[in-house]
């Protein structure tokens, strides 16, 4: 089932009655989510990602725009009739019901031609429990389960009625780091097995990048970029996207282009054929640095952090907009930070320049 969002907009009236400021939570969102894919809605809090998810679920009504499931316009359809599954951030399991009763709950609501007999319901519940591997927990109460187990129950409850669309709201945020890694693989596996079009919301870029078929990066209600995770990472549309994706985050410098040369401070790091002279903001991915004794970029070394396979060199640079410059180089390199400077060359495909005012990407060709 593909999902089509057409000019989707949500405006919340101002909370403060005196000022008439409205909050535009989602602004003119257009996107066609392909059938059977896993989509990550990504952005900092307040970017409108959860609002978008709630509009797809029908729990919130769009101010304007339309939503289609396949060819059906579901914009006016109420939540209970949309045939969706939704997993809440804190799971929202019914605390007084057992795991089995929780999973059965949606099935017991089916009416008319969808009504199921008791055994069929039980079969379906077992099937869903098996899919998320909680068959042995069916008679427990939610309070007797760990966070990860509760999460699985919530997913089973969302899947049991075979929804057309599965929605997950920050599904991993309440889990500890190890469980998070494990559970996100699990979600990926379940989604692959069921083939249900799935949309999930997260503020964690690593999470989104690692399991999504496509990610949507949002900021203050506006879609910044849509694409496959690697494409978005390698080819950010603007400074916000570049900064939001990647750990450690991208290094940002103020720079300028003069006679085709890109200067960071006094260091001319690169030469372009097609960029007119201007002030720019420069982003260099940590893995974009090459240790080079004759390299153009001179940084003052501060510290070396050994990360196993790689080594992270922490340094400072006068033009850096962050307090520290962080590079990641292979541990095979001989690293000497006893000198005044550590010198780098940069990989051209790991460096991005942005318009200083609009922060939009300036595409360049290396001379």
């Amino acid at each position: 089932m593909k999902i089509v969002l057409q000019n989707l907009t949500k405006i919340f009236p101002s909370r403060n009655k005196k000022s008439n400021e409205e909050v535009v939570a989602v602004n003119n969102f257009n996107f066609e989510i392909p059938d059977g894919k896993l989509i990550g809605l990504l952005g900092p809090s307040g970017c409108g990602k959860s609002t978008t998810l709630y509009m797809i679920s029908g729990l919130q009504k769009p101010s304007s725009g339309r939503i289609f499931f396949g060819d059906d316009d579901v914009t006016e359809l109420s939540t209970e009739n949309r045939g969706i599954g939704l997993v809440f951030q804190n799971y929202a399991l019914y605390p007084h019901l057992t795991v089995k009763q929780n999973i059965l709950f949606p099935l017991q609501n089916l009416r008319g031609k969808d009504k199921m007999d008791k055994n069929a319901m039980l079969d379906r519940a077992y099937e869903a429990a098996k899919l998320v591997q909680i068959e042995q927990l069916l008679d427990r109460k939610p309070s007797e389960l760990s966070g990860g187990q509760q999460q699985r129950v919530a997913i089973a409850r969302a899947l049991v009625k075979m929804p057309r669309v599965l929605l997950l709201d920050e599904p991993l945020s309440n889990l500890d780091a190890r469980l998070r890694l494990q559970t996100r693989e699990e979600i990926r596996r379940i989604q692959k097995e069921t083939g249900i079009t799935t949309v999930f919301v997260t503020h964690d870029q690593e999470e989104a990048m690692s399991i999504s078929d496509m990610i949507v990066v949002m900021k203050t209600g506006l879609v910044q970029q849509i694409g496959k995770p690697q494409e978005v990472y390698d080819d950010p549309a603007n400074l916000f996207v570049a900064k939001f994706l990647g750990t450690p985050p991208i290094n940002v410098f103020s720079g300028r282009v003069k006679q085709g040369k890109l200067y960071i401070g006094e260091d001319a790091v690169m030469e372009f054929t097609n960029v007119p002279d201007q002030e720019v903001t420069v982003g260099i991915r940590p893995e974009g640095f090459i240790l080079d004794d004759n390299g153009p970029l001179k940084c003052k070394p501060v510290n070396v952090e050994v990360m196993g396979r790689d080594v992270s060199i922490v340094s400072t640079h006068g033009a850096s907009l962050n307090p520290l410059v962080r590079s990641i180089v292979n541990a095979d390199n001989r690293i000497d930070i006893t000198g005044d400077f550590v010198r780098y060359a940069v990989k051209p495909h790991k460096i991005f320049i942005f318009n200083k005012e609009t922060e939009e990407r300036i595409y360049f060709e290396v001379k």
Binding site: T79, N90, Y94, P106, L110
Partner: protein, 225 residues
């Protein structure tokens, strides 16, 4: 024989009829009151409608007015309705308790909103959600309300005395006070005390077994049941 005092008490005050009347009034009014309280508290806790805050504030404000102020007009109202000396008059006027609505609404508000949203996603109607999720989760509060309401019926005196003082509908407290005050000089205290013991026993039993619910209900109230 000690027991004879109890037998005397039972017959003098016709405690059998009084017990029966009190149970009928207590059970029916508790059940109806629970239904109304649950519906109203749900509307205030979970549904959106215009003027919700204002209406709720107005309800709370009525709690400050002494009950006697209502009694005067209600006495006239039930008399004009021809309800005097019926069970109806003992049940209907007190079905709505603003305090119980407030208590239950607070409890409903503590239930995370996500459960309601989840139920919506699961295709649950409002009424079914109320019955299947909210009510089971608020059971302790509902039990507190039930006990306080039953105790209220058991202990109520002024209103029943005013509007249903005939033999057929008299309630226990009223009957107890009346049965032994006819004589001015020589009161048969042993028999009277036996009657007091008979009337108090059920309350003691309820208290011993359901102490937790009574105390938690009362500590939030300030009103005697």
């Amino acid at each position: 024989m000690l027991l004879s005092n109890y037998v005397d008490a039972f017959t003098t005050a016709s405690l059998g009829v009084l017990f029966k009347n009190t149970m009928i009034v207590g059970i029916v009014s508790t059940l109806l009151s629970l239904v109304i309280t649950i519906l109203t508290a749900f509307a205030f806790a979970r549904l959106e409608f215009k003027g919700k805050e204002l209406l709720f504030a107005a309800l709370l404000a009525t709690m400050m007015i002494p009950g006697e102020l209502f009694t005067i007009t209600n006495f006239a109202t039930v008399t004009n309705l021809g309800w005097r000396n019926t069970y109806t008059v003992l049940i209907v006027p007190f079905l709505v308790s603003v305090f119980y609505i407030y208590l239950l609404r607070q409890n409903f508000l503590q239930i995370p909103n996500e459960l309601y949203l989840a139920a919506k996603v699961d295709g649950t109607s409002d009424l079914k959600y109320l019955w299947k999720v909210m009510v089971p989760l608020s059971l302790p509060t509902l039990i507190s309300i039930t006990i306080l309401k039953m105790m209220g019926a058991w202990n109520s005196y002024i209103w029943p005395r005013l509007v249903a003082n005939d033999e057929a509908h008299r309630l226990i407290t009223n009957g107890l006070r009346n049965a032994f005050t006819d004589t001015t000089g020589d009161v048969n205290y042993p028999v009277q005390m036996a009657a007091v013991a008979l009337v108090s026993a059920p309350l003691f039993l309820v208290f011993v077994f359901l102490r937790k619910y009574i105390m938690s209900g009362v500590s939030r109230s300030g009103i005697k049941g």
